[in-house]
């Protein structure tokens, strides 16, 4: 049983940690947890995700992140992620640009306990060199193969629909990279719309893909993905995103205290 408060769970994440965030763009993001990280004024976080938005932007805008490992950071219809963009342009945040595919490859290698994994040849892309991805000779013949080294996040922070008090967690609908990041990370923090009895999870066993063994915290946070969506419970709040997209740093500081949790 690892149930705790949002505050306690966020305290587990130390300055400088490499964290991986669940969901994609505005879908099942651990938004409440990210706001709590910001309220606790974390510093030097390294944030990893295939496609970030609100979550990555907020950590960049409030000085919590020093590095973003991702393939895409944007608000889509609501424009560019302004705070992320500014932080990168001003050199306060390092954007370790990947393609979503190489973020996945790095997580796969970590999940499998192997030091690197071969990938398709994308070596014309500028970031391949910048990230230091290397070729190896295919030992079975056929020439050189590009590879990606493992990246093992310290924490996978995953917002789900339901979990039990040990941290077995259920995801309805698309997973994005969440189950993979749970496999790859050293530790898992689950925020969940609701904590349910084990029997309830068992009845839905085919959606329960995060076993508890690495879960260090389970936090019940209804609307924990807000302003993102957490189906079937709520859709994204586009009005809030429109407002958020125009916030400056002062506005952001207010935002994390106004929008609770």
């Amino acid at each position: 049983m690892v149930v705790m408060s949002l505050e306690e769970a966020a305290e587990l994440v130390k300055d400088g940690s490499l964290i991986c965030l669940s969901g994609n763009l505005l879908y099942r993001i651990p938004a409440a947890f990210v706001r709590e990280l910001a309220r606790q004024e974390k510093k030097n976080l390294r944030v990893m995700k295939t496609a970030g938005g609100y979550d990555v932007d907020l950590l960049c805008g409030l000085g919590c992140a020093k590095e973003v490992i991702a393939g895409f950071v944007s608000f889509e219809a609501f424009g560019l992620a302004k705070n992320f963009r500014k932080a990168v342009e001003e050199g306060r945040v390092k954007y370790s640009e990947n393609t979503c595919y190489t973020v996945i490859a790095a997580l796969r290698a970590a999940a499998y306990g192997i030091p690197f994994i071969p990938i398709a040849d994308i070596s014309k892309s500028y970031f391949v060199k910048e990230r230091g991805f290397k070729f190896v000779e295919n030992p079975y013949g056929g020439g050189k193969v590009l590879t990606v080294p493992a990246i093992k996040p310290e924490f996978a922070i995953i917002h789900v629909q339901k979990a039990d008090e040990d941290g077995n967690a259920l995801i309805y609908g698309p997973w994005f990279e969440d189950v993979l990041m749970a496999r790859a990370a050293e530790k898992i923090i689950i925020t969940t719309e609701m904590i349910v009895p084990k029997e309830d999870l068992r009845r839905d066993i085919d959606a329960v893909w995060i076993p508890s063994y690495k879960v260090v915290a389970v936090v019940e946070v209804p609307k924990g993905a807000y302003p993102g969506a957490c189906p079937p419970y709520y859709d994204p709040d586009f009005e809030m995103m429109e407002k958020y997209a125009n916030l400056d740093e002062e506005g952001l500081k207010k935002h994390i205290w106004e929008v609770r949790p």
């Binding site: 994609n24 595919y101 398709a120 040849d121 994308i122 970031f127 969506a229």
Partner: protein
């Protein structure tokens, strides 16, 4: 004859939908209103068997164009689960037919920059290329699209190669390019009726050619587009 922004979006969508007539499968990246509409159109009007790999599931059947690529509206009506990772694997295996890719900068070779540029030594940051680097390199027929057309976007050579590959077509608000295999570069295939060779030449950094006029969307296509997107969200892309 005058064309509204909505008309222009409709032309682009219709053109993209028709490119899918003989497609086996299609994937669109994030933030892709026009490809979303084109895929729905193609599935309803031309190619019911088209496989739609979406970020939130396999073969979705959305009723409306949502404000986000990952909106729950889309995931709700899928035929099966699909992980983004699997979509990438499909493309890496050479099994993905069409992919729609946006380009903040697009060059004559068909290479895309979605990373950043330096303007007067100052870095201007783009969101990143999402899945583009892999998909452009491995999908059979990448279709590149852009809601704007000017000399900073259609450049001779991108400042950063985010994604390299040979586009099947490049759809802009002025024209459609196709890839000339022999010359190894983009050539104009059709010009939208509100534009001209002269305008494209002026607004493109690389050399362009004259070409026939892009055929208009049909009544049926327009009706369907209005049904999927009654509020004209699709215009945003061109604004």
């Amino acid at each position: 004859m005058s064309f509204t922004t909505l008309d222009k979006a409709n032309y682009m969508i219709s053109a993209m939908a028709r490119l899918l007539k003989d497609a086996e499968s299609a994937f669109m990246g994030v933030a892709s209103f026009l490809p979303f509409m084109a895929i729905v159109l193609a599935k309803k009007l031309y190619n019911p068997d088209l496989i739609w790999y979406s970020i939130v599931g396999y073969n979705p059947n959305p009723k409306h164009l949502p404000m986000s690529t990952v909106h729950p509206w889309i995931s709700k009506y899928c035929d099966a689960k699909l992980q983004l990772a699997e979509l990438f694997d499909i493309s890496a295996r050479g099994e993905l037919d069409v992919v729609f890719l946006a380009g903040a900068q697009i060059d004559q070779r068909g290479y895309l920059n979605n990373s950043h540029v330096y303007i007067n030594g100052k870095r201007v940051q783009f969101p990143g290329g999402a899945g583009g680097a892999l998909l452009h390199a491995t999908a059979r027929r990448p279709i590149v699209w852009q809601g704007k057309h000017d000399r900073r976007i259609f450049v001779k050579e991108v400042q950063r190669i985010t994604a390299a590959g040979k586009p099947y077509r490049v759809v802009s608000p002025l024209c459609i390019f196709k890839f000339d295999e022999k010359a190894g570069k983009l050539v104009v295939d059709t010009i939208h009726p509100w534009s001209s060779y002269e305008e494209i030449k002026e607004k493109t950094e690389f050399d362009v050619n004259d070409a026939p006029t892009t055929p208009p969307p049909t009544e049926e296509e327009i009706e369907l587009m209005n049904r999927i997107d009654p509020h004209g969200i699709r215009k945003i892309v061109l604004e």
